[in-house]
Symmetry: C2
Subunit: 307 residues, 2 copies
Amino acid sequence: MGKFCFGVDIGGTSVKMGMFSEDGSLIKKWEIKTSKETALEDVAASVKEHLTDEYPAENCAGIGIDVPGPVVSGGIVLECVNLGWSRTDVKGEMERLCGLPTFVGNDADVAALGEMWQGGGKGYANQVMITLGTGVGGGVILGGKILDGSNGAGGEIGHMVVNYEETDVCGCGKRGCLEQYASATGIVRLARKAIEAGAETCLKNDETLSAKAVLDAAKAGDPLGLKVLDQLGWYLAVACANIAQVVDPQIFVIGGGVSAAGTVIIDAIEKYYDTYVMHSLKGKPFILATLGNDAGIYGCAGMVFSD
Amino acid sequence: MGKFCFGVDIGGTSVKMGMFSEDGSLIKKWEIKTSKETALEDVAASVKEHLTDEYPAENCAGIGIDVPGPVVSGGIVLECVNLGWSRTDVKGEMERLCGLPTFVGNDADVAALGEMWQGGGKGYANQVMITLGTGVGGGVILGGKILDGSNGAGGEIGHMVVNYEETDVCGCGKRGCLEQYASATGIVRLARKAIEAGAETCLKNDETLSAKAVLDAAKAGDPLGLKVLDQLGWYLAVACANIAQVVDPQIFVIGGGVSAAGTVIIDAIEKYYDTYVMHSLKGKPFILATLGNDAGIYGCAGMVFSD
């Protein structure tokens, strides 16, 4: 039989786990609860339970793990605020616990690798993924590998500054970050501001305003929804334009919960992107991610098999 | 004896050439005139003249060539406006003419590699160089290699948009590019605008205003000079901040004729850089380039020896 591996996506509340064969097919997936104190021991125990006669350790190519924090080469996690971790040698610890080669990455970077390996970006070795979720994450893939950067901050696209006039403060302490406009939180913030300023909208009495409601309103032709979608597109376009001027990827992949709105997001970005790039960078494809919440475990497996 | 190689920096008016030993020392350098029609044949003839009993072809590791235009992998030059070239297989042509392995790069990218190999950025495999000359060029080096990008537009930092309100048009056809503020031309433009607006300055009657004159005035405490230097620093800082958010280099190297002004340029950038990056990217070193006009030939040699 061929090789297989484990993909382990460690989040703040649950750990998503999967077993993959070398051709990229998902053999099995499951979840365990995240314990901040014993996460790695719990993962190791779950890995061992899944080593069977059918899937023996000697056929296992390794374990890929992603975490919500900066990772530097050598598999060292610098910190994970959500997990309460300080500097942790995740690679060393997992290899000690399981005796299997372990590969470690940042969650947004690894999701990008997953989309490259088996998702919307399949077939493109050079791509940039932007994950529009509660925040905005990013991953830069060059030559089929994650660009982690010297401080584990490669692809931290959500904190590119796109508005030098912003007065509100981003979660990172700066002002005018892409995340303040293009995340689910940012979309709600833009909508609330417009409502407070008296904009005409069907959302006026929506107490629990969500990004989905705003984008659904846009699709239904609501003027405020359309305005926020247009702003979202502009901010993403100028960020992607400046990214293209630096790394010139083959494609951009747009994922995360907000991207579930579909092609309206792509259209909103493409409306402005060409205005802000030089000639040879115009017309770069923007593609929707396809793996959803499984991008992490796919990317973890991709790290193992692309080594 | 050890290996040696040729470094060939093709510019619009002259071709700079050098012979280097593997340890990075320059054995000899010379120039030939650029002929748009016969540039590659002329270079090949000059290379062959320098193959001697002391430096025989069998000890030559190859030829590195840079050109002022976009280059994609495989050594294909997409175009060189200054040379009147359309798509040209520079690698194939030189290998046919000389029978030596040839490596081809964009001039700004290769200058960055030169500074990494033997200049201001020596010892850092991950760095971004910004060349402040007539225009603004850039080169991104990751893992010791040039990031050329899928259209040869990797590191085209001069055309990142840093001012969304600009009304003047950049040479590239866009508005608000870094080059409009941080090049020699851009510095003169900013100074002229301020003078027209009535700014107080010793440069008021300087008919042939140069970037050097503006920066010298700043060093002497001239209010307009200081204002332009401050603007230059801000624009470079916001561009470098967004670059750092994407590729997280170890250092930035600042070169080109404008950087001859020295540490005042570094100070002007560092004044604003930290404001626009997330915590883990603050305090990145900005370093002056040291190779001057030889950065190109050094980088060409670096391409050969880093292969």
